[in-house]
């Protein structure tokens, strides 16, 4: 049974098809990468998978059940988390609070309890805080626990977004170019982090330009070009696919 299945997914912007009748399936537990040249529709696809854009046509299934969510927060509640290509950090909060905000789905509290600081809430908050601290440590940011988010360097912010997304305990985590703008040693850390996330049983969808990272961590790769599927398969198949080499890898690596 696939975790996520898309059928005939399309998205038009004023007549331009950014995503064009796309079918794919993501198996649970895998690292599923989406690659393609700039403008291929990768981020548009992630935006559809998280409810930020509504598809012009097509359907999505989660666990073979039609995904009926409408607003992005409902996609999150269904178990889909993500990070952003251009950072979307809560810069008005501390690093730890960013991650605590990520636990929102697991911290339901009533307005009255919040206003009156009910004892149950105090306990829940303590648990939330320590869980958030664990996650910061998990992504290697324990040193920044008390820092304001706007005091963190760029590479740390990338990992802070991952920690925040993990805090929601997603089943499917979408990473939008987590290595962009990072130096080689930071990219190696991201590589290791993705493998550890995958090791937790979380299915990862990776959108990335860094081919070394993609080919190293992925079980399956989907190649997009002009919003259409150019190829799909394991890293070996994709690497040797002549159409992929011609359209994409050819220009980049050789």
């Amino acid at each position: 049974m696939s975790l996520l299945r898309a059928e005939g997914l399309s998205k038009e912007f004023g007549g331009v098809r950014a995503i064009d009748a796309l079918d794919f399936e993501i198996q649970p537990g895998a690292v599923f990468s989406i690659i393609g040249p700039n403008g291929a529709g990768k981020t548009t696809l992630l935006n559809i998978l998280t409810g930020i854009y509504r598809p012009s046509a097509g359907r999505l299934w989660l666990d073979d059940r039609l995904l009926a969510a409408r607003a992005p927060h409902e996609f999150a509640a269904a178990g889909i988390g993500r990070t952003f290509q251009n950072l979307q950090i809560f810069f008005n909060m501390s690093a730890l609070e960013n991650v605590m905000a990520g636990r929102h789905l697991h911290e339901r509290c009533t307005l009255a309890a919040a206003l009156l600081r009910a004892p149950r809430l105090v306990r829940a908050e303590r648990a939330c805080r320590s869980r958030a601290a664990e996650l910061l440590a998990f992504v290697g940011l324990d040193a920044y626990e008390r820092s304001a988010a706007d005091a963190l360097p760029y590479g740390a912010l990338k990992r802070l977004e991952i920690a925040r997304a993990l805090a929601a305990e997603p089943r499917l985590l979408l990473l939008d170019e987590p290595a962009a703008g990072l130096n080689p040693s930071e990219i190696r850390e991201i590589d290791g982090l993705i493998q550890r996330i995958s090791g937790l049983g979380i299915t990862v969808v990776l959108v990335e330009h860094n081919m070394k990272l993609v080919m190293g961590v992925s079980q399956r790769v989907l190649v997009l070009d002009y919003g259409r599927k150019l190829a799909e398969g394991n890293t070996e198949t994709v690497r040797n696919n002549p159409r992929v080499i011609e359209a994409y890898l050819g220009a980049g690596e050789h």
């Binding site: 981020t43 935006n47 930020i52 290509q85 251009n86 979307q88």
Partner: protein, 291 residues
Amino acid sequence: MSAQLAQFLLSGLTVGAIYALVALGFCIIYNASHVINFAQGEFVMIGGMAAASFLGAGLPLPLAALAAVALAALIGMALVKFAVEPARGASVVTLIIITIGAAILLRGLASIVWDKRIHALPAFSGEQPIEIAGATLAPQSLWVIGVTALIVAALWWFFNRTLTGKAILAVSHNRLAAQLMGISVRRVLLVSFGLSAALGALAGILIAPITFTSWDVGVMLGLKGFAAAILGGMGSGPGAVLGGLTLGLLESLGAGYISSAYKDAIAFIIILVVLVLMPGGLLGGRATERV
């Protein structure tokens, strides 16, 4: 068309033209600086009050009007130089509060320099009403509508045909890129605030013979101008004109057919409905968030 309806339409167009001028002022400053200038209404007040006092000092009307517009433009430029420039980098809300402070300051100054009485300007070309489709129209209304039409045409020419106008548009689209192209953002700000203030003052002078003027007329006129600019879509010049005329007509028709006490309320209810249905105003583009 009934004479009554024609009457409402004509008076709606007159007041709508004034709103359009004020809205254009909001729009020009917003485009150049992303500031909502809540002192915009005070320029309208300064125009009317200054013209009345220059006239009282013995200047002929055209000269008094010119001097009043020039004075407002100078104050507008002083506002940008001494209040907006020094606060560069502050948040938009902070800048808005600064302009509110400036509005209070200007209102206070006006009440001291002039007085707290109501003043009037004589109509530019007599009071003999003109009859159109059974409705009567004061000649001053023709002045208001005509001058507004001229101004709109002149502004179109300025922003599309002159280098300074294009520079202002460039800054509004992309400040950094404009700067790299050698456009002086400071000069653009100066020109936009001066121009907006002059537009406001002109509106104040045009309307003063019809509605009179006093030290505190700026609040309501500024508010209506802002509403018109938003209704049309903030930052859109044609939107400001359309918004102004729409608001004027709504008020006039609402006052005529429904309730004069509730004319402003009717206008604002319709603005609310328009905004809910078209969150970017009548002519505003739908901005999509890029993530």
